[in-house]
Structure formats: C-alpha cells, structure tokens
C-alpha cells in the first residue's frame, strides 16, 4: 500500500492522541517499518552508565529518535532527558520510573535495556510481548532459564533482538573469527581467555544506609530477594553481587567467550563439559568470585580456559592455538604467530561471517529489513550460557557434563537447580 504524506500525518494524529503528546515523530508501527519517515521511536530502559552509552549511540542518528527514558533513579532520568533534549533542541523526552510505561506505550517502536543484569529479562520480555524490537545489554540474562524464555518470546512474537555483545561489530574480532573459521590456524586445539579482575572491593561487613531521595529502591531490587539498601549494592557495584549479576565471569566473559563461540562456529551449541575453581569472598557484601578459572571442553575436543588476569589491564583478550599457528585478539590488538597469517586473504568461495561495523546501526537496519542482527538474542543466549555454567561450576567445584542444545546438566540435580531462580513477587517469567 502506498501512503501519501497527508494520509501519513492523519494516521499519525490518531496515534499521537492515544499516547502522550508527541506531535512530530511517528512510530513506524503506525504504518509498518517502511513508513515514509522511517524514523523509529526509541525508549531507553535503564539510563545509568551503560544506558548513557546507549543514548550516545542513538541520539545522533537520523533513523531513530529517543522519545522516553525509564529508570528507577530520578537522577538518572533527569540526566538522560537533559542530554536527549539538548541534542534535539526541545523538552519532549518523557521520563518514568516504571519501565512498563514505555514497553507498553503505543508510540514506541524500539526498546533498549541497560538495567542491572537481574532486570534484563523482564522488561525485554514485556517489550517483545508488546510488539517492540529490543536491544538488550550483555550479559543477556541472569539465568539460563531467563534466556530460554526471552528467546522463545522473541521468536513467538517475530521481533528483532540484538544482544549488546558489540565486539562482533569490531573489525579485529571479525577478522580473527573469519581467519579461524577458514582454517588459517589449522585445527584449533585450545583457547585461552583472560578477563579483568573485580575492580571494586568492600570489607567483611556492611551497614544498611538510608535510601537516597529519588531512588525507588524496592523497584531496583525487583525480582531479587529483599536486602537493605547500602550504597555499594546498587549502580556499578551490582556486578559483584550474585543476586544481581555474575561478576566478571559474565561481565567480561560475555564479550570474549562470545568471540570463541563465533570463531568455532558454535553459535547454536556450546561445550559439553565444564570444570573450574573460583576464589569467593567468604564474607562482605560482594559474593561473586574475585578470581575465576573455568575450563570448557567442546565435543570436537577443543579446550578453552578462562582466567582472571593479574596484570591489571582492564580489558580481556583471547588467544586461539591451532596446529598451524596462534592468534591473539583484544580490543587493542590483533597478533598472530606466524605473522603472515594476518596477511591471508579470505576468498569469495570461503566462509564469510556476518559483517557489521556499527552494532546499533546493524540492529536498526535489521528492524527495517526484519533480518536477524549480528548478535541475535539467540546467539547472545548461547554465549551467556557459557558464562552462567562457568559460575555454577566454580560454585560447585566439580566437573559437570553439559548438554548445550538441551541446556541441562547431566546427572547433577543441584547444578540444574542453579539454572533458574525464584523471582520476588509480583515479577515472574510467566
């Protein structure tokens, strides 16, 4: 159906009337993703540190426009809206403390989620069920079960979902994965992954503190068990408490294990055995391991070891060892041994991996084409499984057999119970 500019504006008026005043930008959902304006409306859920990064990635684009932000911290809401309004030269950005006001808003096409990890799945699923396409930060979900439900809902509602594992859109990682997939290192034998150590520490005890004005702390806790407020619990530090995240195993593992999965061609599968040991704080507020050491074994015999690095570098890196050479890649380097491997050309008849050089741009493009993005949620979920089973094996300190397609451990009831968690009401995966 061809839609004239006049009809488009008329339809838009109906939509705008149903939603909060929003006179100029029309959600693509009104007329489909091929609407004349092709400007997709976005709401950002969680606008603290990573959420601001999302805003900076989106606010300069002509293909999308941020119309609302949601955050349980009023300070975050205000700060984000100021940045957005300043850029657009107006005061139109809506703010709310309840994500449901944007995931269910009729004038929103896209939702980005950059909340703490225990709050990834619920708003993303709610958005998908309400017809939105989603960009969900890594690590994709807190548990394996959350990831399963998220992917099921994505497919059921035919939505486009990108995981925030943006290294797939970096040239160096793409080049490394493509060289490996085309056998330039020969047969891969082993992979070493180094991730940074925890960068925040607290003592053996902590004291409850008054909740700061503007923070809806109960909403911040959400599905997690009740615990009194203390400043070290929230915002950046949530990463080191297993009630809300998985420590550096998931924070950095989500990036580098993702590259291993890609290079091995394991996006729909994973390892079959996992073993490991973590050093856990026996007291204090933080509960994630301060040192991690996890070993994965794939069905084809490839082994992979992920460890905490001790050189103080705040980046990970991954080294692939094959029978014809090795390749070391991080955000700042791409090295091979022998060096000539990096000069190899990939022929037209060889395996070419999905090419993206702009992670948000790839997502928005896929929203329009309805293709799967480079880090489709199903891929992010499989990678996230490696992170989560790594945490489980370190906690249990015994070798576990993993069924990567069925996503269950073989013969260990306790390990399988750790694949999911109870959610504090009213929240659930139902």
């Amino acid at each position: 159906m061809n839609v004239s500019r006049r009809d488009f504006v008329k339809c838009a008026g109906v939509a705008a009337g149903a939603a909060t005043a929003f006179p100029t930008i029309i959600p693509a959902s009104v007329l489909g993703q091929n609407a004349p304006s092709k400007v997709l409306t976005v709401a950002c859920v969680g606008v603290g540190g990573m959420g601001l990064s999302h805003i900076r990635q989106l606010v300069n684009r002509t293909t999308a426009r941020i119309v609302a932000v949601a955050d349980v911290d009023a300070f975050h809401q205000k700060r984000a809206a100021q940045i957005i309004n300043k850029k657009y030269g107006n005061n139109d950005c809506r703010t709310t403390g309840d994500f449901r006001e944007v995931t269910r808003a009729k004038d929103v096409d896209l939702i980005t989620v950059a909340t703490p990890d225990h709050w990834h799945a619920i708003p993303a699923i709610d958005a998908i069920r309400n017809g939105k396409d989603v960009f969900v930060e890594k690590p994709l979900t807190l548990t394996v079960r959350e990831g399963q439900v998220l992917v099921e809902e994505l497919r059921k509602h035919k939505r486009v979902g990108q995981t925030g594992t943006m290294q797939r859109s970096f040239e160096g990682f793409h080049r490394a994965a493509e060289l490996i997939r085309n056998g330039r290192l020969g047969t891969i034998k082993h992979i070493d992954v180094l991730i940074p150590a925890n960068n925040r520490y607290v003592g053996a005890t902590w004291k409850p503190e008054p909740v700061p004005a503007g923070l809806d702390y109960d909403f911040w806790l959400g599905p997690a068990p009740y615990a009194p407020y203390t400043s070290q619990r929230t915002h950046y530090q949530f990463r080191f408490n297993l009630d809300y995240a998985g420590g550096q195993t998931t924070n950095w593992g989500a990036h580098y294990l993702d590259i291993a999965q890609w290079a091995l061609g394991m996006d729909e599968s994973g390892p079959i055995e996992v073993d490991g040991h973590g050093v856990y704080p026996s007291s204090g507020l933080f509960t994630s391991p301060t040192r991690v050491d996890v070993r994965y074994t794939y069905a084809n015999g490839v082994t992979m070891r992920m460890r905490t690095r001790t050189d103080g570098i705040s980046d990970g890196n991954i080294i692939f060892f094959g029978d014809k050479g090795s390749l070391d890649v991080s955000r700042s380097k791409l090295k091979s041994n022998p060096e000539a491997i990096l000069n190899e050309k990939i022929g037209d008849d060889e395996i070419r991996l999905y090419k993206s050089r702009d992670h948000f741009g790839n997502w928005i493009e896929c929203v329009k084409t309805r293709e799967r993005p480079v880090s489709d949620l199903a891929i992010g979920h499989k990678t996230n499984n490696l992170c989560n089973i790594g945490n489980i094996v370190m906690q249990l300190q015994r070798k576990l057999k993993w069924a990567p397609v069925k996503e269950r451990f073989d013969g260990d009831d306790m390990a399988n119970r750790l694949l999911t968690r109870a959610m504090r009401g009213p929240w659930s995966l139902a």
Binding site: R145, A204, D413, A422, P426, S428
Partner: protein, 164 residues
C-alpha cells in the same frame, strides 16, 4: 632437644589480644570457635558471613546421599522462633539447592506469612522441588495471599507449568 612443639610467642603485634599469652591459652582459643549451625539463626543483614559460609561449602560439596541430613538440620534452624529474617533467608538459599517434598510439607505454612519477605524466601526454598505437592502448595498459597506475593506465587506456578 625437646620433643615438644615450640610455639613462638615473641613475634606478635602488641595489638594482638593473644600477644604474650601462653601456648596453652592460645590453643584453648582455637577450641572456642563457634558451631556454625548455631550462628545461622542469629545472622543479620550486613553481618560477617564467614562462619555460615562454612555450612554453604559443606552442602555444596556433599554427596547427594547426605542431602536429607542437611535438609533436616536446615529445617530445624528455620523452625527456631528466634531465627532472624536474614538467617531464614540464608537457610532458604541453601534449601533451594537440596530441598525435597519434606521441606514443602514443613515450610508451606510460611508461604502465606504476613511478612512478605518471609513468604518469598520460603517460596525460594521450595519452588524447584519437583512434584505435584509443590505445585499444589504454591497454588494454594497464591489463592490465600494478597499483594505482591500473590502475583509472585501465581507466576511461579505458571512458570513451572511452562518449564514442563
């Protein structure tokens, strides 16, 4: 040369409460370490978790044949009327790993506690116990509860059904 073990006591910092004490006194202090099972029920938010983390490690390392014994001990701690909320939470986290239908039978009355935190922690302890008894207990509680835990409990029943 004496065959007795020599324990040097001349190198301790002045601030060390054991500085200057005889070896016997110091050995006695080792025996004063509290029983970690008696600490669980006194745990408060923010307290040192060192002693209770010992129990956590014992349970994580245990052979499945030992789980019923640990479950019994945890349920006994949970039933103590003086047990703190934080202590009850710690117990429920551990029960979530090993709980059997016995935990469901013992704890289901707490699913409808007036204290929403206790109600949720109880659900956390038993939600993953397979079987109809658990589903029935959760369904009954969802019908009796009001407020956020009513929705949480109903959602848990739906999530169990979906997972199956």
């Amino acid at each position: 040369m004496s065959k007795k073990t020599i324990v040097s006591d001349g190198k301790r910092a002045a601030s060390d409460p054991l500085a200057g004490q005889t070896a016997d006194a110091r050995y006695k202090s080792f025996n004063m370490t509290v029983d970690p099972w008696s600490v669980i029920g006194t745990l408060d938010y923010g307290d040192d978790r060192t002693m209770v983390s010992t129990i956590e490690r014992m349970i994580l390392d245990a052979d499945p044949s030992q789980h019923p014994g640990f479950e019994e001990k945890l349920l006994k701690c949970a039933a103590d009327e003086s047990c703190t909320e934080a202590g009850y939470g710690f117990i429920c986290r551990l029960l979530a790993l090993i709980a059997s239908p016995k935990s469901v039978a013992d704890l289901k009355k707490n699913l409808t506690s007036d204290n929403e935190n206790i109600a949720f922690l109880t659900r956390m302890a038993i939600e993953q116990v397979p079987g109809e008894e658990t589903t029935a207990a959760l369904r009954t509680a969802a019908g009796a509860l009001k407020g956020r835990e009513a929705e949480g409990c109903a959602g848990a029943v739906a999530a169990r059904t979906r997972a199956q």
